[in-house]
Amino acid sequence: MSTHPLEIRSLNVAYHRKMVLWDADLCIRPGRSTAIVGPNGAGKSTLLKAALGLIPAASGEVLFYGEPLKKVRSRVAYVPQRESVDWDFPVSARDVVAMGLYKKIGWCLPVRARHKRMADEALADVGLADFAGRQISQLSGGQQQRVFLARALAQKAELHLMDEPFASVDAATEQAILTLLRRLKDQGGTVVCVHHDLDTVAEYFDDVVLLNMRVVAQGPASEVLTPDNLRKTYGARLTLLDEAVVDLSRPGAPRES
């Protein structure tokens, strides 16, 4: 039996009869931070959502700590994209963080004082102690992202799956998230982030998964982030690398969908 926090075997996902993920094989190592990197439309978010059963997979197997998600749900926390919800919703930052505790509280039981305390602690961990009572529309984009992280923290999970936590956040939030990632790892946790910024990948993460509908490469950042692998992932569209420019006319390069 595998002890990997997350193992994905030949996962295929189709959306409107179009394949989005082909035969994705993935193995996330425990106690490390992994970035899933790839161009737009590469299926990065889809990979996370399909792994969590939020969208149906055509075929494949997903194991968390060697078991199906149902059996180990309390060990896994998910941070959706910030844009996926309506921030005008009439709830406070504390209310949102407490949502991470709903499963533990159980059906039909209210959020009690000690749960509110736990939510406040999680908010303090992301530097938002003074904002607990604020309605979420009155927070900045970065603060909203941190509220989402605090909600995952409150779950006290071992594996954290985060969808673009660094997308359009301010410098303070970026630092707060980085500190948090380090702390989660220090506590023996595992972090997987969908990430879009190639410049910071090697600096922020231990491992990298390069994805463009298929898994192009995976492993330690220093080994994976080679010009050749990046070309395979980004094809002709990667202008950051000089080598890519030469390859503009290469046939079979992935195109924007």
Binding site: H16, K49, G53, P80, P90, S92, M99, I105, Q135
Partner: protein
């Protein structure tokens, strides 16, 4: 203006019905599914008619079952059309509920030959007639009171699940809370409420009771619990104000406008919906003014 015992019962029934509708209405609004409430309130019509046709009586149970099934059918089929046909939610709901509503009208016409059923009553309700009852408390008061109690109890028991499924259904699912089932449950409760409410306010005005109190309450509170509470207050005020307008100011004003002096009274259910709309626009204007001139007041949460 003369106030009789009948007026009291009309207001009580109207208020109970409006408040019963406001509860699922708030959650439909939070789910961005206000249209679903509209669709269900129309789509239950063929369900009711089939219930009549099958049972041959105005027995409430078969019509209740038929209507709830029709409501569920709307929710499920419009979801399928949305995914398969790749059209937006509003369009797919429009396709389903308009067809069902039309089918319902035809069926009611057919049913009317067999049972005592008036299409007008179904559309506009018969609040004034429904409260005329031999018992000390009219049956419709018990009925709307029961559905209000049920809705309040469900909202209290499943409060946090409803809140999470509305705010972030994906996170709910990922953390093991079946947001899909919660949405189905809300659809069922909405259908049930609609059926009970249609007898007093009619199928068309149910939509006003479902959405307007919640929409007004959204202007007044920044917490889901607060929104729920305010929506009940708005529903209650709409019912009282609506009936008062229907028996006093309304006829006098309309009579003066049209030159007729024998208008008697207007439809109470209609005036209740109109009052709800009036209350909404009053608060909308007030909130704009507060935003403009008293921004410090706005920061306080109710």
């Amino acid at each position: 203006m003369i106030w009789t015992e009948l007026d009291t019962w009309i207001v009580v029934t109207g208020a109970l019905t409006a408040m019963a509708c406001a509860v699922p209405g708030v959650f439909l609004l939070l789910n961005k599914q206000s249209m679903l409430g509209d669709a269900i309130s129309h789509a239950v019509l063929p369900g009711l008619a089939i219930g009549f046709l099958v049972s041959g009586t105005r027995d409430p149970l078969p019509m209740l079952i038929g209507a709830v099934l029709a409501g569920l059918f709307t929710g499920v089929v419009s979801g399928v059309i949305e995914r398969r046909g790749r059209v937006e939610t509003g369009a797919s709901l429009g396709v389903v509920f308009c067809s069902l509503f039309a089918l319902g009208l035809i069926l009611i016409r057919i049913a009317a030959d067999h049972v005592d059923l008036d299409p007008g009553c179904v559309l506009y309700g018969a609040l004034e007639l429904a409260v005329i009852d031999s018992a000390p408390v009219p049956r419709i008061v018990w009925q709307s009171g029961a559905i209000l109690f049920l809705n309040l109890a469900l909202a209290a028991v499943f409060f946090k699940e409803l809140q999470l499924a509305a705010f972030d259904p994906r996170f709910a699912k990922a953390s093991g809370i079946p947001s899909g089932w919660i949405h189905q449950g809300l659809t069922i409760v909405t259908a049930l409420t609609t059926v009970v409410a249609f007898e007093s306010v009619g199928s068309i005005l149910v939509i006003a009771m479902l959405i307007v109190p919640g929409a007004t309450a959204m202007l007044l509170s920044r917490r889901v619990a607060g929104v729920l509470l305010w929506s009940l207050v708005v529903a209650l005020c709409s019912a009282v104000l609506g009936h008062l307008l229907a028996i006093s100011v309304g006829p006098a004003w309309l009579g003066w406008l049209t030159g007729h002096n024998d208008l008697g009274s207007l439809s109470s259910a209609g005036m209740m919906a109109a009052s709800a709309g009036g209350i909404f626009f009053t608060f909308l204007a007030a909130s704009r003014l507060v935003q403009r001139f008293l921004p410090s007041l706005q920061k306080r949460t109710l």
